[in-house]
Symmetry: C2
Subunit: 161 residues, 2 copies
DNA sequence: TGCAAATATATAACGTATTATATAACATTC
DNA sequence: GAATGTTATATAATACGTTATATATTTGCA
């Protein structure tokens, strides 16, 4: 068994570590989504959620809302357009802006997700790290160990009381 | 100002969020490295550190040590080979394995980094989140706010006492 | 009014991770 | 000891983020 340097080095490799755990968590989340038979990527959800919460948004606003750069938002919205979950139209007052809104299909997906999938994912993640406390490095270690022990797909809000 | 959905949705977007913060932290770390004039990428450091700690390792062991997949390790080691920081030779007993070791130049870089850069980075990250405590979502919020307020490059171990 | 600057989005080029698969070397088994 | 399976690394294809730059539209000012 080889030593996990990223873990050993602590604060020095904090960036790599957060990224690594985030990627792991996202791919585990993808499993939950796939299990439900929804044809969508985990990374696309925040865009739909943003529009659902705030109403039609421009590309730039979506980038800000999701916390990525504008080209990244342009790309993901392009995918969601192809999938038929969103619709895009120039803003009436400013032809540079593109207003992105949910289609009926997109709204259906969001509504269904809000009832079935999102609570499921949030509960699984809460089960993984909701009760943690203390220094961040210790919590990260607990999360890594927890995921290794019981993958996200098999977790539920088992916390009684 | 647009709402930060990833932050708002909490546990539901934990993966995206960790990843996002990790990327941010890593690119901030890169600034510190560049400031010191070292020609190396933040993501390459854990490989050098792993070899420095454990002695020559194979590609597979490096992948495990750093927590990425084997093709990722193959690529990064290829870069470090080009840069002259590591050397690679077939293992004497098993021609499939490639043992990766530090060159003189690589060892010099590690030794210098251990004295000057790594403590600097670890101190800056510790300044950012070393004193935090409590639920992880709150700590993540504090880290994001902290980075926005004072970037990593301008942080030092200012915690006195 | 007309032209320069600013803003919003799109596109291109790149970096670095992933999964899937190919190739080479070793191990096993009949 | 030749066929078969396993292991280690390399390569190809894909995903998704970034920075830099191009294009279109709007704004502001002489």
């Amino acid at each position: 068994m080889v030593e996990d340097v990223v873990r050993t080095l602590g604060f020095l490799c904090m960036g790599s570590r957060l990224r690594r755990i985030g990627e792991r968590l996202q791919s585990d989340t993808q499993q939950v989504i796939d299990e439900a038979g929804l044809g969508i990527q985990a990374g696309q959800y925040p865009f739909l959620a943003a529009i659902d919460r705030s109403g039609p948004l421009t590309i730039g606003e979506l980038a800000q809302a999701v916390g990525i750069t504008q080209p990244g938002a342009t790309r993901t919205i392009g995918q969601l357009l192809e999938l038929g979950f969103v619709d895009m139209q120039p803003a009436p007052d400013d032809q540079r802006r593109r207003l992105v809104s949910l289609t009926g299909k997109g709204q259906d997906l969001v509504d269904h997700s809000k009832m079935v999938i999102w609570p499921r994912i949030a509960a699984a993640v809460a089960d993984l790290c909701g009760d943690l406390d203390g220094p961040i490095l210790e919590q990260l270690a607990a999360i890594e160990d927890g995921l290794a022990a019981v993958p996200l797909v098999r977790r539920h809000a088992a916390r009684t009381g």
